[in-house]
Subunit: 500 residues, 2 copies
């Protein structure tokens, strides 16, 4: 195999993948072209990088190295060795999956290993995920994928502690039960190292909302300290390198707008496994507006989660919940924070309270610490809020802020055009209006629903209020609301819904 | 939509895709991250590029533009506008194909348009090709894909002339009938604007071999002139931008080692259509060693080629030929050139002569200009060689060179270890030995077969000779030959083959 010794020239460029830049003359000598991959070696370590070529930016004998390709310890003018890479073996296994054949354990680990080491191109990842989307995973495959993904990232071990966790498969705006459930469980003596995501396409992820109260970007040592102190944490999982391979899959899945079911199972469970959870409750909202639209599909998904849990030596239960409209009244980080605190204080949206108690009750049952009644007592006694206050303080914030003052200054009421009953609130359209208003990046932006499904409304009532931090975003969101008409009003008994 | 006006800073970097480099501060302002795509606009033209970010290499207010993203006419310090791109609509259609649903005309054209404008990422292309690999194309789809691919590239119109062409689906080393067939047809008065490819994984493409005689990298105006003068040309198709979208597909297909059948059909026929061919003969070699291993599969493929031809208003016939061993004796550009000239001069490998006459005869029949007998007369009269000499001269070369002197100096005979009959010559292994020896980049490298299947050999006979231009390549190729054992010898009537 040809290889060249080149002088490293570290470059301050981020490309979202490992890239090196070769002088065109050296590329010819190596027999490689722009877009090909090479193995770069330094001090016993190697990385596979994609190459760009140049005639001027980098001289012959030099290798420009972008950020992601800079091997630990490499300095300017260090000698690195560059050689064409052989074709990764996992491409054969991807081809096997494309043909619909079940992969063996070593084949799955090879693929995950290559993804982890950036040895597969985006085209190859796209092909793999498409094959998984079309053919699905077998139970065996999804368990191995999960194990392999956990293996490539950080893990936390809590010893013999009873560690529990919840997860919602998402798709329902305002569904912010997590801080309430976690606080109840921690108050009941359970350990809940909760990691959450930020929004990608929704108006707020749990991490975005918790950030209204406190810092969520914490490292693993800090998480351990906080959980030891308070029994729980509420942090962003994105930077913890728990199953980091999953993030590479998600990047491509997101671009393609696909979430192959098996990959979703592996994604959720790998993160729970890595964080050391033993008892896991999965919230599966169903409804025309949710990700899962029928009971049968929800039950099948629940079965798969439980079966995967068993293979991973975890106890998994699923709650199939109402996903036909948003939960709570506020949608957007600050608006959701207000709903959460209201529930802690015994006020606030009933649906958010009820759902939180239901989920907490199930986890108490699974861990033999009680039931929904226990959860209710803990919430109503103020112990849950006290726990929440301690967690947010430990994370450098507070449960008690002047949230109303943090709301966007620019506001627009959307008025009901006729009397009738609210027949439908479209989750996706409400989410779009909230995002157009600026959520989740503008924390005070979003939508507040004054009425929910089944409520009787009169012409002239305020249906919802849009909050924005910037005037032009309020304008755009108002236009979006007029166009998308997210709330449908009709007569209670009518079959054909009328669109406002 | 947010957009920034930035100062162009043209960069001498080739990345095999359009890339621009933004200062990290400007990236935050645009709300984009490394790896995202942006629309770059200048003087009424736009290009979608992937972004890298930097803190130093490019200042705020500047935009580093790699070669592939440099819009025609843009100069250093020109003002360009950059904005985040909306999601291409074709992603929805890719998803539809993933679900196995037939695409509509406008959906296919949208996908091909987006591929052409580099609006789809490699991940998205990988997903599309995987979906096509798994679900296949319908007849309707493959015809529309072909039409759309032709539409995005250059085309040549020859008016009312009878234009014909041949194509081999490949996989058989030494199968260099093209120059012979083209010369016969042109000598018979037909117009044959032949474009060929270079080798990707084989020891020589037709273009690599023709390059031994003359220049093959010609532009469309030159091709027109040469064809007008001689009736034919023998050029490399790679730089002509005939169906350039196909090259983007092939790049990903090659990385994945897949060639979805429908995509192969569209690829071949789009190039024939673009170059203005009306009568097309497809050579489909079959055999254990070829791309198609059974008669039934070959017949099905032939049916698809013919049906696609009909939809494209072309006359297509297929020749199902013997692909069980290499054609001719030489494998590698110069060695093949020697075989070709020998056939023109009435000597040379019989199988190469017979196959060339067969194919030329079929095309003469299709165009009502004669048959195999006509082809034989033209070849044996020396008219075909005369034509070939005129074509190669018009392309700046000659049909008469001291080819033997162009062969690699380093040579190794591979000796027959036992007496018996040659039962099998493994195409893929012979190709590997030839490539290891340096073909096709080292024109004089390759393998010369002294015997073919069915020949009786004695211990000590030379089975084949390896030629190389570099000593270490001869060494590596000899090692490869010993390891791969490409020729199998046994007793004529034995069932179990013995490996030498």
């Amino acid at each position: 195999m040809v290889s060249l010794k080149l002088k490293a020239k570290l470059m301050d460029v981020v490309a979202n993948m490992p890239v090196v830049i070769l002088n065109a003359g050296d590329a010819v000598e190596l027999g490689v072209y722009a877009g090909d991959r090479v193995l770069v070696q330094f001090d016993g370590h190697g990385i596979v990088a994609s190459i760009d070529t140049t005639k001027k930016l980098v001289n012959r004998g030099e290798l420009g190295i972008y950020r992601e390709a800079q091997i630990h310890g490499v300095k300017n003018n260090a000698t690195v060795s560059v050689s064409p890479t052989s074709r990764p073996k996992s491409i054969e296994y991807i081809l096997k999956k494309m043909r619909g054949i079940e992969l063996k354990k070593n084949e799955i680990w090879e693929i995950i290993g290559d993804v982890n080491n950036d040895r597969l191109s985006d085209g190859e990842l796209g092909a793999f995920l498409t094959a998984v989307y079309i053919h699905g995973y077998t139970d065996f495959e999804v368990a191995e994928i999960t194990r392999a993904m956990v293996d490539k990232g950080n893990s936390i071990d809590w010893g013999n502690t009873v560690v529990c966790d919840k997860h919602s498969i998402g798709g329902v705006p305002g569904n912010r039960t997590t801080p309430i459930v976690v606080s109840i469980l921690a108050a009941a003596g359970l350990t809940v190292p909760k990691t959450s995501s930020r929004a990608i396409t929704s108006p707020a992820g749990t991490a975005d909302t918790i950030e209204v109260f406190c810092n969520v970007s914490l490292g693993i040592p800090e998480i351990k300290k906080i959980v030891k102190k308070t029994g729980a944490c509420l942090v962003w999982g994105g930077a913890l390198e728990l199953a980091p391979v999953d993030d590479k899959f998600i990047h491509i899945e997101h671009a393609l707008s696909i979430d192959p079911e098996g990959q979703v199972l592996a994604s959720v469970m790998s993160k729970k496994k890595a964080v050391g959870s033993k008892y896991v409750l999965i919230d599966i909202p169903i409804g025309d507006e949710a990700k899962v639209d029928r009971m049968k599909a929800a039950e099948e998904l629940a079965k798969k989660f439980k079966s995967l849990g068993k293979r991973l030596d975890m106890v998994v239960e699923c709650a199939i919940t109402d996903g036909s409209q948003p939960i709570g009244n506020g949608i957007g980080p600050v608006l959701e924070a207000i709903d959460i605190v209201d529930v802690f204080k015994g006020r606030g949206p009933k649906d958010l309270r009820e759902k939180s108690l239901e989920l907490a009750g199930m986890l108490l049952k699974m861990t033999k610490k009680g039931n929904k009644e226990t959860a209710k007592k803990i919430l109503d006694s103020g112990k849950a809020f006290e726990k929440f206050a301690r967690i947010t303080e430990a994370q450098g914030g507070s449960a008690d802020k002047d949230f109303r003052n943090m709301l966007g200054k620019y506001r627009q009421n959307i008025i009901c055009p006729r009397s009738g009953t609210i027949l439908r609130i479209a989750n996706e359209e409400i989410a779009k209006v909230s995002r157009t208003a600026g959520a989740p990046n503008d924390k005070g932006a979003g939508v507040y629903l004054h009425s929910k499904k089944g409520d009787i409304v009169k012409a002239g009532d305020v249906l919802f209020t849009i909050y924005a931090e910037k005037e032009y975003k309020l304008h755009d969101a108002t236009e979006a609301a007029k166009k998308l008409k997210p709330i449908h009003i009709g007569d209670k008994d009518e079959m054909i819904e009328e669109v406002i």
